[in-house]
Amino acid sequence: MALITFTNKGIYCGKGGFYIDPWLPVNLAVTTHGHSDHVKWGNKAYLCHELTKPILDQRLGEDLKVETLPYGREITINNVKVSFFPAGHVIGSAQVRLEYKGEICVISGDYKIEDDGISSPFEPVRCHTFVSESTFGLPIYKWQPQAAVLDKIRDWVSDNQDKHKTSVLIAYSLGKAQRLIKGLTGYSDLYVHQSISNLNERLIAAGVDLPETIRIGPDLKKEELQRGIVIVPPALAEGRWIKNLIQPATGVCSGWMQVRAGRRWRSADAGFALSDHADWPGLLSAIEATGAEKVYVTHGYTATFSKYLNESGVPAEEVKTQYGNEETEEKEVLS
């Protein structure tokens, strides 16, 4: 029997009797990271990285049974060795390494290769079986270095300030928001939506070094926001709140902004291709570094990406999961 199987509840480790990122309630959910398409409410117990716990506390509630593990430490569940390695996706994101009788399987959840300065950088792990995402699994997706994208954002903000426009950046509250805060601190005052500041408070309490931001509240004047940078989650992107600011200019930060159609679809004033997922070269280099004999592709351009891997001599298979819907999930969380 294989170490993992793909069931209607999620990725299942039969030998260990636990699931990884299940979407239906189970006894033990080993959790790669805190995005809500990877972790659901209702499991009897959770095992995650220690920095994912504050995220679960904030998003799912504090009365859950959550065990934590730092990167690199190994525990054993029913004779299966379980350990976490950094996935570089968001704060606390982990690749789950499973080992049983010398057979190694790594479930990577979501990952990116570039060091974003805020999440522990991705570490390749040698394994026999690798479970990969392929959110940006097409050769049209090649990211520019983060520093270059941040420069573009700063130029855009400065241009907005010249024109007396309010700069509003649209970014996921977990991941992109912290990255922007870290990258843009000191350039301008940062005003963040409460869904972001609530999360940040938990992360800071857990020991994450996050720069200071200002929580957006009713007592803030629009003129103050106009001079700074406003960061809000996607759920607010098309709402009235932004329209009521002084000459708002919206900038969406997302890998989808790489393509013109993506930029126009979002009808934002600017698009910045900044992603927490690996780009095409990133996916290929990560998979090569694992030395895996078999790759399962869980979400994104699964058909295309697995076909390409097979043609390049890496046996790969697409599997149906319910991952890959961060944005709508995030909207549910907010509403």
């Binding site: 050769p139 049209i140 997706y141 393509v259 013109r260 993506g262 126009r264 679809w265 390409y308």
Partner: protein, 530 residues
């Protein structure tokens, strides 16, 4: 080219007309004067001859990027634009070149006579020295196909603001015949080339759709009513012994309609007529599907000349004895038009579009109900004291169309869209029932809100039955009401008929797939229009 790339980015990232105009004004203020005529040519659809064909460009891009052909095709489906796909899949540039837009365009034009090897060297070298956004522009320069949501009206407004000239004059000037390599920006906006050119048409005056009841327009006596014809809007220009026929798409279609060539002998020099090119037989306007047999053909057969003879219902007189008539009143222009048309020796081919006489608005509403019997689409209302405007202007001209035909269909295929809609399943194929089978009847991709598109998109993802390349077969469950303007026999379609301008009228969430229309319903409709 950097400045131009910046302009494109600004135009694409804003959806507010004022921002776009401001970006254009800035561009025409700052850019190199030699670049500007090329940019105006591009934005008004004047394309140079393609120096290199698409197949070669695609092949070289595959070689340079080292990806397989099928993966390129997948990428293209996701991006929705060939030039952009190529710009994105190529490896990063190894060097950087900063050249002027017009230099690139001129070099590309010179490629025409080079060997494929020389062309390839030039293209690969360019790709290797440009960043993604500029590469995209460069690829667009090769294809000459630049569509970025700048209407000629918008461009003209920007040029007018930048140069302080009257916008109708600029519209005039850029619509005529000129070559970007042979004209300076100043001469172009000043229109110094226009007088020497016999062919230039006037900008068409366009009507807005009437949304309210016509009673809101005031006294019926102030208005002239005409039938709204469903043909090709055209302008006939006769100057200095030459005859030109322009379509509304700013295309010269003179050769396609020999029936109108008698005007060369019978129309006075310095005359410009606005009207509708129609197929008219024995004094009756035929359905658009009949006219269609005559469009875009290099040669016309005798049978076609017999079954689909061309006529011209003229609406307006724009130029008379060389003088611009557009600022006269409609009433004045009309009576002169009737005199000119009445003076033609060849009768029954070029005639004034009949005026619909009516007592009051309710009378006109009743007359409008009979539009379809005449193969007309409804009523046009024009104010008797109105001048002939450039483009669309609210208030003086209204189109009061009859409601379209509709048919209830079920969605059976879905495909990802291109352009703004790339990445979502937005292009659908619809079927009607034929016995126990479903038979494809139309493809449509507009008429849904973004929210509905997302809903359908997730339905497609969950209910895809089969994949054929980019196309997904889906469970026949979602019922859509399709609106269309006409119906014609068609040998190329399995159903044996084709709908004209099909679009989604609404999503009938209240209906089930067994409640849709049948092919017989449509056949009956077809018979009734012939």
């Amino acid at each position: 080219m950097k400045r131009f790339a910046e302009l494109i980015q600004q135009l694409e990232t804003s959806n507010k007309t004022n921002d776009k105009i401001a970006a254009l004004v800035d561009y025409f203020r700052e850019a190199d004067d030699r670049d500007k005529p090329y940019v105006i040519a591009m934005f008004t659809g004047k394309r140079p001859k393609r120096p290199v064909n698409t197949a070669l460009i695609r092949q070289w891009a595959l070689e340079a990027s080292g990806i397989p052909d099928w993966l390129f095709a997948e990428s293209y489906h996701s991006v929705g634009d060939l030039s952009e796909t190529i710009a994105l899949i190529l490896p990063p540039p190894e060097k950087l070149q900063d050249r002027k837009l017009h230099e690139w365009i001129q070099d590309l034009a010179l490629l025409k006579d080079k060997t494929d090897e020389e062309k390839k060297w030039f293209i690969l070298d360019a790709w290797n020295s440009l960043e993604t956004q500029e590469r995209f522009i460069f690829n667009k320069l090769i294809s000459g196909n630049f569509r970025i949501g700048v209407s000629s009206k918008m461009l003209v407004n920007a040029l007018a603001r930048q140069s302080d000239m009257e916008s109708s004059k600029i519209m005039h000037s850029i619509m005529g015949k000129w070559q970007p390599a042979e004209i300076t920006y100043q001469d172009l906006v000043a229109g110094s080339h226009v007088n020497t050119d016999n062919s230039w048409p006037y900008p068409f005056c366009l009507a807005y759709a009437l949304e309210a009841e016509p009673a809101a327009l005031g006294a019926p006596g102030d208005w002239q009513a005409e039938w709204k014809w469903d043909g090709i809007r055209g302008q006939i220009v006769k100057r200095n012994g030459e005859l030109f026929i322009w379509s509304r798409g700013e295309e010269l279609v003179t050769a396609q309609f020999p029936e109108l060539h008698f005007l060369l002998d019978e129309l006075e020099d310095g005359t410009v007529l606005d009207g509708e090119i129609l197929s008219i037989k024995d004094g009756y306007v035929q359905a658009f599907s009949v006219l269609q047999q005559r469009l875009n053909r290099k040669t016309i057969s005798k049978t076609q000349l017999n079954t689909a003879p061309i006529g011209f219902y003229t609406y307006d007189l724009l130029e008379h004895k060389g003088a611009d008539m557009r600022f006269e009143t409609l009433a004045g222009r009309r009576s002169l038009l009737e005199k000119i048309a009445g003076g033609l020796k060849t009768t029954g081919v070029v005639v004034p579009s009949p005026v619909v006489r009516f007592e009051d608005w309710s009378h006109l509403a009743r007359l409008r109900e009979s539009s379809r019997d005449l193969n007309s689409e409804g009523i046009m209302l024009k104010k008797l004291d109105s001048m002939y405007h450039s483009g669309r202007k609210r208030g003086d001209w209204w189109k009061w169309k009859i409601n379209p035909y509709t048919v209830d269909t079920v969605m059976i295929y879905a495909q990802k869209g291109s352009g703004r809609r790339a990445g979502y399943y937005t292009d659908y194929t619809f079927a009607v029932r034929d016995g126990d089978q479903l038979i494809t009847i139309a493809k449509a991709y507009s008429g849904l809100t973004d929210k509905e598109i997302k809903e359908v998109n997730s339905f497609v993802l969950k209910n895809a039955v089969e994949k054929f390349g980019p196309v997904r077969t889906v469970k026949p469950e979602l019922v859509f009401e399709i609106a269309f303007e006409g119906i014609a026999e068609s040998k190329r379609h399995k159903a044996g008929l084709a709908l004209r301008f099909p679009r989604i009228a609404r999503w009938r969430k209240d209906k089930k797939a067994d409640e849709i229309n049948t092919l017989d319903d449509l056949r009956q409709l077809l018979q009734s229009t012939l």
